[in-house]
Each structure stands twice: as C-alpha cells, then as structure tokens.
C-alpha cells in the first residue's frame, strides 16, 4: 500500500532535519559556509537557497539511481551529480546576480564539498526512495538555512547596523556614541556566535556530546 505523501513518517524525516538532527548544531556539518557567508544577510540567504536546492535535488537524483551505482565509484558518481547542480547554480548567479556572486566568491563552488550534501547522500539517499530523500534533503537544507539566517541577521545588525543593505540602527544611537561591533564582521565573531547558538540550541533540545 502506498504511503501518503505527507504521512507521519515522512513528516518526521522532514522535521528531524530542521531541529533534532539539525545539520549544523547536531550533525556538525556545513560549518565552513555557515561562518564564511554570513557577514551579510543577503549572501546568507543566497547560500541557503543554493544549498537547499542542491541537497534536495542531488538526494533525489542519487536516490533514483542508487541501485545501479557500483560501490567502488559511488563517491565519484555523487560528486559528479553534485558538481553538475552546483555549476548550474554558479552560472545562474554569475549571470543574474553578479555582485552577489563576487561577494560569495569561492563559497558557491564549495557547496560541492559541503559536508551536508555528501553526508545526506551517503546516509540517506543511498538507501531510501526518492520522495523520502527529497524530504530529507529539504529538511536538512532548511535546518541549515535557519541557522545561517539567524547568524547572518545578528552579524549584519550588530556588525554594520543594516539589514539587506537598509540602515536599521537609528542614527541617534550613533550620535550617542554607539559604534558598530567590528568583531562581528570578522572571523572570530562568527566563531563566537556559532558557539553561543549551539550552546542555546543544545540547552533547549537537551542533547550534549559525551566526552
């Protein structure tokens, strides 16, 4: 009997990727891009969309051909599929959003090596049917996106006083001596912020690593 498209199990697959097994805070994957592109909300949004699309659709493609891939070359096949998707996204960005692609520089290409994409392919798509793989990819992508958007918003507001380029810090603050937090747009600020977010998320969800 065919399972309903959005049955309980399917919904769980989707929701797990967003909270319980969030790729960044639980699986510890995809940290590199989470820190690198979040100096501004705009680049964080573009990276989130890009990664969600790549994860979801590469999951589907690999899941469809999973029974025909010889085990010795499966990493190569996976990388090829992912590279093709990332090349398309990169060409699209260069054509239609050129300034943003300049800011993202190498990080669009680095979606290929983003551990979330490869991790979900190996862990889920290689053993599950296409619709479930799509939900899993979508859920993980959205979980990643939520962390990225959170970090991007905080870093942009406190680091430059803007959101998506629009000034949100009232000029009266600056007049009274408020200064933009320079550390937020630099590397250390990103590390600290991610550490604190992980701390908060794990306090709420109750997960902690056994040392």
């Amino acid at each position: 009997m065919a399972e309903a498209l959005l049955s309980q199990k399917n919904k769980k697959i989707f929701k797990d990727g967003m909270w319980d097994t969030n790729p960044i805070t639980y699986q510890i994957l995809g940290i590199c891009s989470a820190l690198a592109v979040t100096t501004q909300l705009k680049t964080a949004l573009i990276m989130s969309c890009g990664l969600t699309l790549v994860t979801a659709f590469s999951n589907v493609v690999i899941s469809v051909i999973r029974n025909y891939i010889p085990s010795q070359i499966r990493i190569i096949v996976q990388l090829t599929v992912v590279s093709a998707l990332v090349i398309s996204i990169d060409q699209f960005l260069r054509a239609d959003m050129f300034e943003a692609s300049k800011q993202l520089s190498v990080f669009v290409g680095l979606i290929i090596t983003n551990c979330i994409v490869m991790g979900r392919l190996e862990a889920f798509a290689m053993g599950n049917p296409p619709w479930k793989s799509f939900l899993d990819g979508l859920g993980n992508g959205l979980g990643y996106s939520s962390v990225l958007i959170l970090i991007g918003t905080i870093r942009e507001i406190f680091g430059s006083g803007t959101i998506l380029g629009y000034q949100v810090m009232p000029p009266s603050f600056y007049a009274q001596g408020y200064v933009n937090n320079g550390m937020m747009v630099l590397a250390p600020g990103a590390f600290f912020l991610l550490g604190i977010i992980v701390w908060i998320q794990r306090s709420i969800s109750g997960y902690s690593e056994s040392n």
Binding site: T25, I28, L29, G30, I31, C32, S33, L35, A36, I75, I76, L79, T80, S83, A84, V86, I87, D90, Q91, S105, V106, G109, L110, I112, T113, N114, C115, M118, L186, A187, P188, G189, A190, F191, F192, L194, G195, I196, V198, W199, I200, Q201, R202, S203, Y207, S208, E209, N211
Partner: protein
C-alpha cells in the same frame, strides 16, 4: 618575481589568512579530529601533502585545458579560443578525489596504525573544503605555477597548525568542568574564535 614575494605569500597563507581560522575552510574534519594530538598531527600532514600536490595539479588543468584560449598549445585552430572555465569545479574535484585515493593507498601501505586511527577521515579529505577552497582561491587570484605551489604548501601548513593547536588545547580541556550543552562543538567554536583573534595579530608582518 624575487624570493621575498614568495616568502610573503607563504607567511600570508600560513598565518595572516590562515585557511581555517580566517576563511573557515576545513572546519568539519577539524572539529571531528581535534580530540587527540596524534590523529590531528596525522590528518594535518595528510592535508599538507594532498594540498601541496593538488593545487599545482589544478593550476595545470586550468591553464592548459580550461581557461579561455588555454588550448592554443595544441595548434588545433578549432580549439584555440575555447573557454571551458565552467568545467573548473568538476575537474578540480576529480583531481582532488584521485589524489586523495592515492594518498590513502600510500598511508595504508606505509603506516597502518595511522590509517586505522584516521578511519573515515582520510577519504573525507577529498571533500575537505580546504583543499577545493585552496584550488579555487588559486584560480580566483590567478596565481602562476610557483605561487600555486607556495600557496598550497602554506595553506596546508596553516591548517595543520590550527588543528594541532586545537588538539593540544582540547587535551587540557579534559580537566575542565564545561557545561553539558557547551561540550564538544560549542567550546571548540569559542576556542577557535580566540585562536582566530590571536592569528589576526600576524596581519602586521611584512618582510
């Protein structure tokens, strides 16, 4: 270009623009493998080796096959103006995957202890963002051959430096009383932030 330029490039890629602490590349294996110093050292050396080989190899692929007009050396007029740069991602990752496979075979032959200690992380060097990232930076900045060698070596050494330092710190952390939600990933991030601040101090070095 004189030797000072290359030494400056080396210092820049090891310390000032440390590929992990400034560009965040290679974080996943860094966090996962920095619990013990031996594993960290082994992985660091493997990454140095792979990066040193892959960056010039990718330079060659780009400059002899993929860049605009690169295939003029074949003297085939049809190929003289072809621009295959959109294939850069896929050819770079193919070179890196092949090189990693070779390094894995070498490590298994010459050091089985290191091979079993590294486990899954050795093949995972292929998807370590640091390697592809170094190759893509080399492409973006249009380095020449010698610059790409120096950059690959420097990037690898910088990454190895960061992971060994983190392993040493985490070894001391075993005696600390860290709150449960902060253990593992959280505290590593906070420590990396402090290390990153420390490495920023190198920004003033000029030869």
């Amino acid at each position: 270009m004189d030797i000072v330029h290359y030494v400056n490039l080396a210092i820049k890629s090891i310390f000032v623009e440390n590929i992990l602490l400034a560009f965040f590349l290679g974080n996943c294996s860094y966090i996962a493998c920095s619990k013990k110093i031996d594993t960290a050292m082994g992985l660091g050396i493997a990454v140095v080796f792979v990066m040193l080989i892959c960056t010039p190899a990718c330079w060659a692929i780009k400059n002899f096959f993929l860049a605009k007009g690169a295939m003029a050396w074949t003297h085939i007029t049809a190929l003289a103006n072809v621009d295959l740069s959109f294939l850069i991602f896929i050819s770079f990752i193919a070179v890196i995957a092949a090189m990693t496979q070779i390094v894995e075979m070498l490590v298994e032959k010459f050091s089985p202890a290191l091979y079993s200690a590294l486990g899954i992380f050795l093949p995972l060097i292929a998807v370590n963002c640091a390697i592809l990232g170094a190759a893509l930076f080399m492409d973006q900045r249009n380095y020449n051959f010698l610059e790409s060698v120096v950059f690959g070596l420097g990037g690898g050494i910088g990454w190895a430096l960061a992971i060994v330092a983190m392993a040493a710190i985490r070894k001391k952390l075993a005696y600390s009383n860290i709150p449960a939600p902060l253990r593992g990933l959280g505290i590593t991030m906070l420590l990396s932030g402090l290390m990153s601040m420390g490495f920023m101090c190198f920004a003033g070095i000029r030869l």
